[in-house]
Every structure is written in C-alpha cells, then in structure tokens.
Subunit: 258 residues, 2 copies
C-alpha cells in the first residue's frame, strides 16, 4: 500500500516567530501534515493588510523546533505569505495556510486590523484554503491547550471539504478550559471607541498612546461576539470582495453633470 | 438671511502631508467646506488597515497652505483618522472624510492594501461619510487637474444624500485629460502576481524587493477595472462586513466531534 502523502501546511502569524501561539499551532499541524513556517521576525500586531513597498525584505532560515522548516521574515504578515508562496514554495502552493494562534481575539471588526487575519486573507487571495486562529488572551502566558482539538478538527474539515472560492475562516476561541463547541457565525457589528492617552515626553512635547474600548452594537445571537461570550469557538467565513452591492441602486440614482 | 454653515471636511492621505495629491484634494474641498487636514508625516503607501500599537504617536500642527488647519501624524493613515476624530475634532465628527488623492490606482483588490482606502474605511467605521480618491499615476508629477470637477461633484452628492450605513466610496480616475464620466462599479476580481527581485547586499546576504504584475480574472463590464480601461472614473461602494454570508450553509453542514 502506498504511503499517503501528507498535506503541506504553511504556518504564519503576526506575533512573531518566537511567540508561544505559533508554537502551539505548529504542534497541531505537525499531527496532520508537513509544516513550513514563514513568520515575522518581530511582533506585527495591528498591521492589517500592510505590505512592504519602500524597503527590501529579508527572509532567513532558522532552526527553532525539531523537524520543522522555518523562515523568519523582516516584513509584515502579508509579506510573509507572499514570500512563502513565491520564494519558499516557488509557486507550488501549500494545501493549507494557517495563521496564529493569535494572542488576543480577532473577532468582529478586528478582522480589518489584524495581521493574523490579513495573512489568512492573503492566503485565500492566492487560492490557498486558509484559516486564522485567535485566543482571547493577550499575554505571553496564554494557555492554548483547550484549543488544539478544535484547531485540528477545523483544519481537517478544510483539507477534506475545501472552502468556497475566495473564502477563508476566522476562528476565535474563548479563554476557557471548557469550550462548549463550535458555532458558525457572522461578524458582529462592533467598533473600537478610542481613548488616546496623552503624555509629555522628557522634552515637554506631547505624544499619544492608542487605547480603546470595544463597543458592540449588535444584539444578534448569530455573531462571533455572542458565541465567544457564551464560551463557544466562533467560526466566521470571510470574503474579500468589499463591494457594497446593496448600495449600487442608490448610487445609480445620483445625477452627475458632464 | 443667515449665512449657511460650511460643512467640516477631514482630509487625509497615505502618500504623506507634502504629497501633491493631498494638495489637489485640499483645493477642491476648500471650495465646498471648512478643511482640516490630518495626514502622515511620511509616505505610508501599502499600509492597509495597519494601526500603531507598540509605540506612541506624535501629532503636530503644521502650516503649509493658507487658511487650512493642518496636522502631521507619525502613524499610519488609519491612526490619522483615529487621532483626528478623538484629539483634533474631540469627538465632534466632521461632515465628510476624504482620503487622497492617491498617487496610483486603488481599484479592485488594492482596496485591501491601500492606506488611502483604509483611512476612508476607518472614517466610515466612525460613521463619517467617507470617500477615497486615487489617480492612475504613481509619479510625483501626476496631473490631478482633470479629476477636480468630478471630485467636487461626488463630494457634494455625498454631503447632500449621505451614504448608506457602514458604506463608503472608492473613487479611481484614469490618467487622461478626457475622463468620459462616472461609472458606479463593483470591485473587479483581480490579484497581484508577485515577482520578488532577489539581490545580494554588499555583505553577500540575500534580500528581496516586492514587485508584481496585476492580473485581472474578470471579464465583467460592470467592474472598476473595465471602467478605468474605458477612461471612466470608477465609483465602487465599499462595506467592511467581511462575512462570507453565502458560505454559511456549507459550513453548517460540517460535522464536528465534541
């Protein structure tokens, strides 16, 4: 009997290649496939879909975990995916792209700000089945153990069934040992209400720290916010056609002069 | 007769506060409202929806153009909008947020990578009617003169009619003196095919420049790519609910074990 060929799995993140979250994700992916890691050499949280245009990129092999081919990249999470596809895989695409596990939630509107999710979006743009994983714990001491069986199941389902074209998954976990199960959700309507912390530097010049409060404007029980509040893992299918199709007829009613 | 109160207009960009494109946009906006500029102190192209988390932000008043209140910001285009709303406007929102005019197109998938468009998205998240403007010319010598009458009309329409909730506009102009008119479009299905330019530094270490070719996989005549190719200005309504609603039932058919 021929030995089954293991799927190739690209692992990326935004917290940097030494983060505990990516180590946990690598461990799960090693159970089901051949893992190649391309991750930022420094933390890239909040980098969204940024790419590096004005300066060159470094990509260097590193040897952190036994039996895992790993590269650190000087760029953003999206740069990592682009370099992985073009330089590391040389156009031969991986069977799966997983991003995370992020230290901190990427539910709701955070999908826009998150480097973790933007890396997964970039994987999907490259027609690779892609998933972003995040846990509701910002600390370096975050405990990812309860998430692992769900991550494995979700990754296996994606490998078995594929995903609809131009669609990826945004998976978020509550910070509990007792995850109740998985809910397929929509992105909740929520936003950050910023509160800039204004300070003076030693030279008496002002500077600002960005802080904020997460505001949920959505009572729905079909949202990722609801699922996480009720101790479920939330799975949101994500697409990257930003067109507001529902607004077309309204705009077409406007009159413009030549 | 009471004097009509002019609308307040926040102007932002991603090419930096000294770019010719933002000067052109300021000139148009001064015709219709009271302009306040908050723009990056350095070029921020390709920054997408990045925000600055790990370091503080600077925001300093500058005096570049007569009669215009202007601030330069050390952060990303999205940071600029957040600081504008919270520190400059102190929660009293502007009537309109315009971003650009970008030196280079932001049509199709570029809406994800573009700092110009992400600033407009952030404006919309803040419930401010928002528009991003871009011209198909990357150079500093770009000629924005033909775009001005369209920019004014589109801005006035948005001020008069408003926009549907959580919707903004992505406006792109062809690089021609003879713009044929305005087309309401959807985002074309296209992507960048990367071609990394591998080089050796003086110490014989490899580095990479990100380059690429824009690949359009869309024959539709209702897209922004089609409109621009045919010398029309493209107007795409944009929304930021990334949920792939069409994929819900497929995902709900998956079986997970407890």
């Amino acid at each position: 009997m021929a030995k089954a060929i293991k799927p190739t799995i690209l692992v990326v993140n935004d917290d940097g290649i030494t983060a505990p979250g990516i180590k946990a994700l690598i461990e799960v992916m090693q159970e089901i496939g051949q893992v190649i890691v391309v991750a930022p050499d420094s933390p890239q949280s909040g980098m969204g879909h940024a790419i590096t245009i004005g300066k060159p990129l470094r990509l260097d092999k590193v040897d952190l975990y036994e039996g895992v081919e790993m590269y650190k990249c000087s760029g953003t999470p999206v740069d990592c995916v682009k370099l992985a596809v073009n330089v590391v895989f040389q156009g031969k695409k991986p069977d799966l792209c997983v991003s995370g596990i992020n230290h901190g939630l990427n539910n709701s509107i955070n999908v826009l700000y998150s480097g973790t999710m933007s890396a997964a979006v970039e994987g999907a743009i490259e027609s690779i089945p892609s998933i972003g994983f995040s846990l509701d714990d910002f600390t370096l001491e975050a405990d990812f153990s309860a998430t692992k069986k769900y991550i494995r199941q979700i990754a296996e389902q994606v490998l078995n069934h594929g995903l609809p074209q131009a669609t990826l998954l945004n998976v978020n976990f509550p910070n509990t040992k007792d995850i109740k199960g998985i809910k397929i959700c929509r992105q909740a309507n929520a936003k950050w209400a910023e509160e800039f912390d204004e300070r003076l530097d030693p030279h008496k010049r002002k500077y600002y720290w960005l802080t904020g409060v997460f505001q949920v404007n959505d009572q729905g029980e079909d949202t990722d916010v609801w699922a996480l509040e009720h101790q479920y893992a939330s799975v949101v299918p994500v697409q990257f056609d930003m067109t507001a199709h529902h607004a077309m007829s309204f705009l077409n009613s406007w009159k413009f002069n030549d």
